[in-house]
Amino acid sequence: MVVRKIVTLVEEIHLEGGRPVAPAARIAVVAAVVRNPWAGQGFVDDLGPGIDANASDLGELLAPQVLDALGAPAEAFGKAAIVGLDGEIEHGSALIHTLKFGDHFRKAAGATTLLPAVEKRGPAGVVFDIPLKHITDATLRSHHQTVEVRIADAPHPDELVIALAAAAQGRPQQRLAPLSTEQ
């Protein structure tokens, strides 16, 4: 796996709706810009070997870094695969929609749910939103949130951006009634 660069983004929200958020709401993203392992090979029927060769390594690379950047226990998480223009969405999906990738994050964060995801193809500098949900209860409304990311020079046409996101809390000023009140 050829990693060109690692990007780390940490957002802290101190005010929302004009009111203080204390402690500050914190979200972290760590993204790896990698060469698409199927670049230049035409239509590859069996993505299995490429998944086996890369997905676990990526999960192992990103999971500890995103938790370190967050600097607090993760309560919500999500993932992203952004495919350069010459690749297939399927290439990005292949690397993140496998337990080989996500289990590293789940294990490190004490999580039990599946990671919500964004898969998208675009040019370098494309803006993408990573959805996050609670790490043990995907129905918990307070923790449904997104974080927006842009890497100025990635992905190149033959690259993928693979990212993990973690939040230390739900939305700032979250105050929606729980799902159970409507059931």
């Binding site: 050829v2 990693v3 060109r4 660069k5 690692i6 990007v7 780390t8 983004l9 940490v10 957002e11 802290e12 929200i13 101190h14 005010l15 929302e16 203080p20 958020v21 204390a22 402690p23 500050a24 914190r26 370190d68 950047a69 600097g71 607090a72 500098g125 803006v127 927006e148 842009r150 100025a152 020079d153 230390a168």
Partner: protein, 233 residues
């Protein structure tokens, strides 16, 4: 990286007093949240592992930190003296932003290059952004906190939320060091609102990935006069 600081407000208290003090981590007097009403901060870092297929001989980490604040001069006219707010707000921002850079880049000694920037929301003047980054209340303090000697290079722009700004950096003690001319792209997805200013500080721990365009010491003498004498031109 440091845990989040708490408490988000402003005040009427003089910022200079608070900027001089060493605050308790996470206290309400944490710089950046006393004199300036900071809505959010964003830290963005890049580590280049390979460039053009090869790892850099001197790997560098770049970082840019943004603080989103209310524009304190909204509704004031073009003759308004900006100094009173600058003296209160800019030192606190300089301290808060450089603290984050030092933390993200592994200590002040690791930092080799720096730059600064402002993105002014559409209800403000570029002059408002300039006021916060171009006076000694920000620039001298940023230079001192990062142990630099050079003038700090900059960019500023007025724009809508999500505006991308390329922040230039150069060497913190020898600005003409060509290997350290570099930039980082900065953007806050939902800022600045029309009445906000994004103030940014950037730094890098090394040169460009494969810097190889010489330096003043190695350059031949190139001038327009010499060029015109060259028959092959």
């Amino acid at each position: 990286m440091s845990p989040p600081a708490t408490a988000a407000r402003v005040g009427t208290e003089p910022g200079r007093d608070t900027a001089d003090a060493t605050p308790e981590p996470g206290s309400a007097r944490t710089p950046g949240r006393v004199a300036a009403r900071v809505r959010k901060t964003v830290l963005y870092c890049e580590d280049i592992l390979t460039e053009n297929g090869t790892g850099p001989a001197l790997p560098a980490r770049q970082a840019v930190v943004a603080a989103v604040i209310e524009n304190p001069w909204l509704g004031t006219g073009p003759a308004r003296d900006l100094a009173p707010e600058v003296e209160v707000i800019a030192p606190v921002l300089a301290k808060a932003l450089t603290d984050r850079l030092i933390d993200a880049l592994g200590g002040v000694d690791a930092i080799e290059a720096f730059g600064k920037a402002a993105i002014v929301g559409t209800a403000g003047e570029i002059e408002h952004g300039g006021a916060l980054i171009h006076t000694p209340w920000f620039g001298n303090l940023m230079r001192d906190f990062l142990q630099g000697e050079s003038i700090i290079c900059f960019a500023d722009v007025r724009g809508d939320a999500g505006e991308t700004l390329v922040v230039p950096m150069w060497h913190k003690t020898a600005a003409a060091t060509r290997s350290h001319y570099q930039t980082i792209s900065a953007r806050v997805s939902d800022a600045p609102r029309a009445g906000e200013i994004v103030v940014l500080a950037a730094a890098s721990t090394g040169p460009r990935p494969h810097a190889r365009i010489g330096d003043r010491k190695t350059d031949p003498t190139v001038s327009a006069e010499n060029l015109e004498r060259d028959p092959s031109w």
